[in-house]
């Protein structure tokens, strides 16, 4: 089932064109990795999906992005962003308690009932593989957590507003291998219910967890296929070079 449909998507920052005629589909209940050298536009693509690209001045776009058939650029930006979760590269712990970090979105959207809030906290922290580590200190300030824990907290925070889609921008690049492993594990579990798109510099990570992989270069999608195929038998020459380490 297709979760996301990107059609003829072009973006500019001022006069500089970043994304060039992106056409692609992303499946539901699976993990898709986007890889490519620095500057190829993968972050911009991600931010186009959650509508934070337009926060930078002089951003312009053309084309359409449909999430479950719905044009996300038709809504107000805040409403669109609510349904699309994004986890950044830098683990961000809001200056609140661990619990309040998770509940930050739900409280904003008006959730008041005590039992529902408690359920959300436990639910999301469990899905983010963090519950066991913090269940006894939910009221402690989140900044005391380690980098890996903060990143899992960010995932929990994103999950708390029930997104239709989860985007991650190089979420493990500042983490140690152990934390990375934990996060990769939890992403695979999440993907049983949610489409996940992950931008990563780490090809091995893509191979470990992504069902499909997209290779981008200079603002274009060069090739997209099952991860297995991308690694072993890509059709495109550039893809082959990248995956064998010759470029990027």
């Amino acid at each position: 089932m297709t979760a996301i449909n990107i059609t003829d998507w072009n973006t500019w920052y001022g006069d500089f064109q970043v994304l060039n005629n992106i056409n692609s589909e992303f499946k539901d209940k699976s993990i898709t990795a986007i890889v490519g050298p620095s500057g190829c536009g993968k972050t911009t693509l991600l931010r186009s999906l959650n509508r934070t690209a337009e926060l930078t001045d002089n951003f312009r776009y053309e084309g359409s992005i449909l999430v479950y058939g719905h044009n996300i650029y038709a809504d107000k930006a805040e409403d669109a962003r609510r349904h699309i979760g994004l986890v950044y590269q830098t683990p961000v712990a809001l200056p609140l308690s661990i619990q309040e970090n998770v509940l930050f979105g739900p409280r904003y959207y008006g959730e008041r009932k005590r039992d529902r809030l408690t359920a959300i906290v436990e639910n999301c922290l469990t899905q983010a593989a963090l519950w066991d580590e913090v269940k006894d200190k939910l009221n402690k300030p989140a900044f005391e957590l380690s980098g890996g824990q903060k990143q899992r907290l960010s995932i929990a925070r994103a999950l708390a507003v029930n997104p239709q889609l989860l985007l991650l921008d190089e979420p493990c690049s500042s983490l140690d291998p152990l934390s990375t492993g934990l996060i990769e594990e939890l992403l695979v579990k999440l993907a049983m219910n949610l489409p996940i798109i992950i931008v990563t510099h780490n090809l091995f990570q893509a191979r470990r967890i992504a069902n499909e992989t997209v290779f981008m270069l200079n603002g274009k999608i060069i090739e997209k296929d099952l991860t297995q195929t991308m690694f072993n038998n890509p059709s495109n020459e550039a893809t082959r070079s990248f995956f064998s380490g010759a470029i990027g």
Partner: protein, 292 residues
Amino acid sequence: MNNNVGNTFFKIISAVIAFTCSLLLIAVLFFMLRESLPVWQMTRPLAFLSGTDWSPIYPPIQLGIGSMLASTLWVAFGALIIAIPLALACAIFLAEYAPQWLAQLLRPALTVLTGIPSVVYGFLGAAVLVKFFEIKFQVSSGESLFAASIVLAFMVLPYIVVNSESAIRAVPPEYKLSALAVGVSKPYVTMKVIVPLAKKGVLGSIALAFGRAAGETMAVLMIAGNVLRFPESWFSRGEPLSALIALEIGSAVPHSLHYQALFAVGLVLILVVTIINILINYLVNNNEMPRY
């Protein structure tokens, strides 16, 4: 969506307030212009600015602020000449040489210095510095533009230091590190690499200081001598524009020519200071708002 309504409401209110308040400057300029209009219609601006006779009440009415303008410029530039080398050295010291504990003493000290009211500086300048000049040089009056420049220099010093230090700190460390790696000494790197790179910020702070010195009223009121004559030298007494306004506005009958002339003086003062500020804003051209 309660929160969104709240947000929109808040955004609109703050926008309205922000817009209205930004117009404050325009309101002030407008008022100055309106109150002084008859004067501009009466005299040629050039004659007003350069004429050295100021006699706004008793005929023959002469409206020339040349002497006062000269005093303002002299006192302000004089202050800068004294302050800049000292302030720059201190900024460099703070940014590059001061040990942590000393820097932590010095920075609050600078903030305190900026917080001391100008009237206190004026008072101390008059009670101590002027007296000192009178005794040391055996003159009847120690008041002079020079004395005023010294006190003004002291007043603007902290501002130049604080803003220059920021500019120096803002220089990316790679420059310093690469220069040092070549093997030259630290003072050499400071003078030849870092300070030139911090030029913009330093110049910005100097322009700011000029504005403060030119606009300062109390200190010059108490020290410059308040003599309505064209100052012949730095050591003459004089009456800067700000002092002129402060001294005469009280006795000027509202809407009389004298009153209007004083507003014309005010307009000149604010234009000089504002134009320099705006110019430097564009030249320096970064959004680093200097600390006042």
